[in-house]
């Protein structure tokens, strides 16, 4: 007897990489159901606050509901505190919102990217029920297992398990080489990070059937938010 299944996996992959003064958030634009493609032009990236961007893959129905929920809570925060939510604050809110539905979860695999209150890049990675961690980079979605090893290989230092990251800016040296402060930053420049993201998506598109069509790249830095689109393989 066929039971109603409340979930569906619409596929796709999301990536975010944090740098000294920027954050790159990227996701493909393919929406699939089973072996079919529903849309080649569906964005998985939502701007929650001016320095905070959420990329989510999984069940887009739950994702739309989650984004609406977060946008409403962000507006209430602005009304109560007379300022926009910072990225770390939004990170905590997202975790709490996801755990609230612990026993009927949002089927959403999220990556939150943006700038923290000091202007440094931050990336937060989540599971479906709200467990989260600040890292230097992360990938979630159907292509994540293909991308993470390559990102590890190119960006290993931002992992909190290893030595602190090297960054070109001398003012950050004290913070970085002080073993008491673990810093979650990538030692790459903004253009190098964007090129790396394009490369990993090209590789994942080859081997993951749910990833492809087009890549949407959002870069958040001190001058604001820039969006770029790159064509990917459509097969």
């Amino acid at each position: 007897m066929a039971r109603f299944d409340p979930y569906e996996n619409n596929g796709g992959t999301c990536v975010a990489v944090a740098g000294a003064d920027y954050c790159v958030v990227a996701a493909d634009t393919r929406l699939s159901v089973g072996y079919s493609i529903l849309s080649r032009d569906h964005s998985k990236i939502a701007q929650l606050a001016d320095k905070c961007v959420l990329a989510s893959s999984g069940f887009q129905g739950d994702i739309k509901a989650l984004q609406k929920n977060l946008a409403a809570k962000e507006l209430i925060y602005e009304h109560n505190h007379n300022k926009k939510m910072s990225c770390p604050a939004m990170a905590q809110l997202l975790s709490n919102t996801l755990y609230y539905k612990r026993f009927f979860p949002y089927y959403a695999f999220n990556v939150l990217g943006g700038l923290d209150s000091e202007g440094k890049g931050c990336v937060f990675t989540y599971d479906a029920v709200g467990s989260y961690e600040r890292t230097g980079y992360s990938a979630q979605g159907t292509g994540s297992t293909l991308m993470m090893p390559v990102l590890d290989n190119q960006l290993k230092s931002p992992s909190p398990l290893l030595l602190p990251a090297r960054v070109s800016s001398s003012s950050l040296e004290f913070e970085l080489f002080n073993p008491l402060m673990v810093v979650f930053l990538t030692p790459l420049s903004e253009s190098e990070a964007v090129d790396l993201v394009k490369d990993v998506f090209a590789s994942a598109t080859e081997r993951d059937i749910y990833t492809g069509d087009r890549l949407e790249i959002v870069v958040i830095n001190s001058s604001g938010t820039q969006r770029e689109y790159i064509e990917l393989r459509k097969d």
Binding site: L146, M148, P149, V200, R207
Partner: protein
Amino acid sequence: MVGKNCFAIASDRRLGVQLQTIATDFQRVFKIHDKLYIGLSGLGTDAQTLYQRLVFRHKLYQLREERDMKPETFASLVSAILYEKRFGPYFCQPVIAGLGEDNEPFICTMDCIGAKELAKDFVVSGTASESLYGACESMYKPNMEPEELFETVSQALMSSVDRDCLSGWGGYVLIV
């Protein structure tokens, strides 16, 4: 992975039963003859039994034909042996690599019931296969010399097994 007139075959060294590690020096890549190697991922006992059966068949072939088996022929042999057990299979996914006529590299992989998949660039199998696909796809270049091929395969293997809790405890890379 295929290089310029050479190939690399690599595996990790862990043998485990779910969360427990039994061995950290388990051999998964076996020699058939000087220019033909097979890697077997999956159930340890099936990997060893299958290797013993294949070596037996190859030795008989050598006695009858007075020469070594070509990689393509060997791949067909492995496929047939696996399909014989179609309804009670060996729980192994082989990866076959060899040098054929004129030292032309040959690689292929199969599922546990013998469906052959030839490739020109690289083949992967095992619990970390998805990670390996991503890493190899990003790092592979055609016509790599043996030294560069070694570096590439090692980096791809190490990065991929580091993201898989059931693989690891070192790697073994062979260049021919």
